[in-house]
């Protein structure tokens, strides 16, 4: 992360993201997802790779830019604005971070290099139970086999599975937690798509006696746990940036509508009842933005695990609740038209819901915050 503070680089990135949002938002495609379920477009993904965005976090030794969450958040906020369905955060943040922190294998370097180029699409399959966003309730078992493992278990809620060519799977072995690479087409591995409200899907992955050779073991024991925990907190913060993009665009749409829609001979935005509601939501948006940016700075400084988790939970909780409140209110501000399929508002409402639920919703993160803040470590405000 040597170039993290290169502000000219950041400005360039922000500009290219801004251009993409302006020209690249393909809302008809997003609207059609409910029918097509074509959430992963290889051409689109290749474009993200060509922009260099998939490698924002990846070390330069693996072909990436070696930047920080500050830059990843800029990309994610833009993709949130554009409602891009491709799994940027799941692949270029969560999987990329897990791989980066699992240093020491040839496979890791190969996957990271391929990820940056858009040729390999790894996602992490760590979750088995709802609300267990750090993957502690682990029933998937790994038993030693020919220098590697045989793995059986079931994974749920895997965002990005639709386009993935393989999974970084968590499994419990006698020797502790294992992070294992399982190609999508490995014998005994099957993936089912669970359709979501916004036209994307969760992958539900079944592993039956899947043979994992020793060279596919990415990390073990404390190293595996450390890599996963860190990566999950980083991904929660970048997902929060997606939510900020979604909420800002939605509130802009609401405000534009309130300025042009005339009832009782006046623009409805002149009515105080609507003005005050719009203001209160704007305050939520700005709180979300402020918390997100402090979390980004904190995590880029690589603090201790508790500080990191508190910051990530604050960001995800506030950004999730604000995005949900702002998008729901957008339906009300638009009136009946806001409830139609033709209106873009619904697309934003549903994306806010799926991103809010992923990697721990607001309630789950408040519960973790309460647990950690009760420890003596606590650092107020």
């Amino acid at each position: 992360m040597t170039t993290r503070n290169d502000t000219s680089h950041t400005a360039l990135l922000a500009q290219s993201v801004g251009d993409f949002v302006q020209h690249g938002a393909n809302l008809p495609r997003v609207r059609a997802l409910l029918q097509t379920r074509a959430e992963f477009d290889r051409t689109q993904w290749q474009q993200l790779a060509e922009f260099g965005w998939l490698g924002v976090l990846v070390p330069e030794s693996c072909g990436g830019l070696g930047l920080g969450l500050a830059e990843a958040a800029i990309v994610a906020e833009g993709l949130g604005r554009a409602l891009t369905p491709e799994p940027y955060t799941a692949v270029a943040v969560l999987a990329a971070r897990v791989l980066e922190y699992s240093a020491g294998t040839a496979l890791r370097d190969e996957l990271l290099t391929g990820l940056v180029a858009g040729e390999r699409v790894p996602v992490v399959a760590w979750q088995e139970q709802a609300d267990d966003f750090t993957g502690l309730q682990l029933a998937t078992a790994a038993t030693p086999f020919e220098g590697g493992f045989r793995v059986s278990g079931e994974k749920q809620f895997v965002i990005g599975a639709a386009g993935a060519d393989g999974y970084i799977v968590t499994a419990q072995a006698a020797a502790g937690l294992q992070l294992l690479w399982v190609p999508r087409d490995a014998a005994g591995c099957s993936t089912r798509a669970v359709p979501l409200a916004d036209g994307r899907s969760y992958g539900a992955i079944t592993l039956r006696d899947v043979a994992v050779p020793g060279v596919h073991v990415l990390a073990s024991g404390d190293a595996a746990r450390g890599a996963l925990d860190r990566a999950l907190d980083h991904a929660a913060v970048v997902a929060s940036a997606e939510l900020v993009g979604v909420m800002k665009r939605t509130h802009e749409m609401s405000l534009d509508y309130m300025k042009t829609r005339v009832q009782f001979g006046k623009a409805i935005g002149s009515f105080q009842a609507l003005q005050h509601r719009a203001v209160d939501l704007y305050i939520q948006q700005e709180l979300a933005d402020a918390v997100l940016h402090e979390a980004v700075v904190q995590l880029d400084a690589d603090p201790d695990a508790v500080t990191r988790a508190l910051a990530a939970s604050r960001a995800k909780s506030r950004c999730a609740e604000a995005a949900l409140a702002i998008t729901r209110a957008a339906i009300q501000f638009h009136g009946a038209i806001g409830f139609t399929e033709d209106c873009d508002v619904g697309l934003y409402v549903k994306r806010a819901m799926t991103v809010a639920a992923w990697l721990g919703n607001g309630r789950a993160h408040r519960a973790r915050y309460a647990r950690l803040a009760a420890q003596p470590h606590q650092e107020a405000a």
């Binding site: 003005q275 005050h276 709180l287 402020a290 309460a370 405000a381």
Partner: protein
């Protein structure tokens, strides 16, 4: 004087904690009301001698020049130690205003007096018929020789009975086209003949605010801050500081300290319904801190505060009230007892944050007025 900003956050917090805990007079800790001058004078002077009286002022004017994160630590530690609120208008309002809008003579004369506790200020803004619609104020200042002669009355003037000086918005041009024009910003010595006071008792039973009457009160022309007839611009600039001050997390922090102490004393952390609500409020407060630091950073960079700073005030006072309400609910039947209640591990005045937080959504421009400002100037909604 040390460079506090060069210290680590932990070291600065430790020093602040040790100082506030050991030096603030025990009999005034967690006082239910604002401190009167005779009660806090010694403490004020002690802070002044230590160089800690004006944490938010630049160092060249005798302040600590704290960075936003250090300033928040300073506030957190004052609230943790139960340091009461002193008559602080000079420190939070007049000082920053003179630094920005005053002239050298005014700065040289007044700033050291504020630091030394020789000038205690109150705010002459609201009038009986000019509250939310402040620009309709009618108190008048007429030039006469080397003076202005002031007639009229100001109301809801907090701690006027302890003040040595008052800053006044007065009409200097009745012919101005708009009501915001023709208003001037004047500094007045409270000992000037013609000033009389009446105290007003609030619903908590305390006499914290007053009505101030001006009957041919003379103040010299050098006490005009900024240009003649341009006082509204200064008042608006000052409102930025006021909203930053009211919008700081320090007052809700005070209620949070009590709520957490009460929760421990009553074993409420075992009640999941309570913990969920407490956590929400803890996050509301922590996130206010994030937003607050953003604005303090702006001030430190020398940028003017825009109308968007109003959102700090709305959120801070709203959070303060919600905290005070949960405090009462968490106390159950104890929640309506007047004065301190002795719980197993702490004595807590449960009701005072309820009373203290009520006017927060009214003064400094009511929260509804703040929302109007945000709607018009930030969201650009039509009127």
């Amino acid at each position: 004087m040390s460079d506090w900003n060069a210290m680590s956050d932990e070291a600065f917090r430790a020093e602040a904690r040790a100082f506030f805990e050991s030096e603030f007079p025990a009999q005034y800790k967690f006082l239910a009301r604002r401190m009167r001058w005779h009660e806090c004078r010694e403490w004020y002077l002690k802070l002044s001698r230590k160089g800690w009286i004006a944490p938010n002022w630049p160092r060249e004017h005798g302040g600590m020049g704290l960075s936003p994160s250090k300033l928040l630590i300073y506030y957190e530690e004052t609230e943790r130690a139960g340091v009461g609120r002193m008559p602080d208008q000079g420190l939070t309002m007049v000082g920053p205003t003179l630094i920005r809008f005053g002239n050298d003579a005014q700065r040289r004369y007044f700033l050291p007096k504020i630091i030394a506790g020789e000038a205690i200020w109150c705010q002459g803004y609201s009038e009986p018929n000019a509250g939310s619609d402040l620009a309709s104020l009618r108190t008048e200042a007429v030039p006469d020789g080397n003076d202005f002669v002031i007639n009229g009355s100001k109301i809801w003037t907090s701690m006027a009975h302890d003040a040595t000086h008052v800053y006044v918005l007065a009409r200097t041009d009745r012919q101005a086209k708009k009501k915001q024009e023709g208003i001037s910003f004047l500094l007045v010595d409270m000992k000037t003949p013609g000033i009389t006071l009446r105290t007003i008792r609030n619903i908590a039973g305390h006499e914290e605010f007053c009505q101030v009457f001006f009957d041919n009160v003379r103040t010299p022309k050098e006490n005009l801050v900024g240009e003649l007839h341009k006082g509204w611009t200064i008042a608006k600039g000052l409102l930025g500081f006021e909203r930053l001050n009211i919008g700081s997390p320090r007052r809700p922090l005070q209620a949070m300290e009590k709520l957490e102490a009460l929760a421990r004393a009553r074993g409420l952390m075992a009640d999941p319904a309570f913990v969920e609500r407490l956590t929400q409020l803890q996050l509301d407060l922590a996130d206010l801190g994030s937003l607050y630091r953003r604005y303090v950073d702006k001030v430190r960079r020398g940028e003017a505060l825009g109308p968007d700073v109003s959102m700090l005030k709305v959120w801070s006072m709203d959070t303060y009230q919600r905290l005070s309400e949960l405090l009462i609910e968490a106390a159950g039947e104890y929640g309506v007892i007047d004065g301190e209640v002795a719980f197993a591990t702490a004595n807590i005045d449960v009701l005072s944050p309820f009373y203290n937080s009520r006017p927060g959504t009214i003064y400094g421009g009511s929260n509804e007025i703040q929302r109007n400002i945000l709607a018009k100037y930030v969201l650009n909604l039509p009127s």
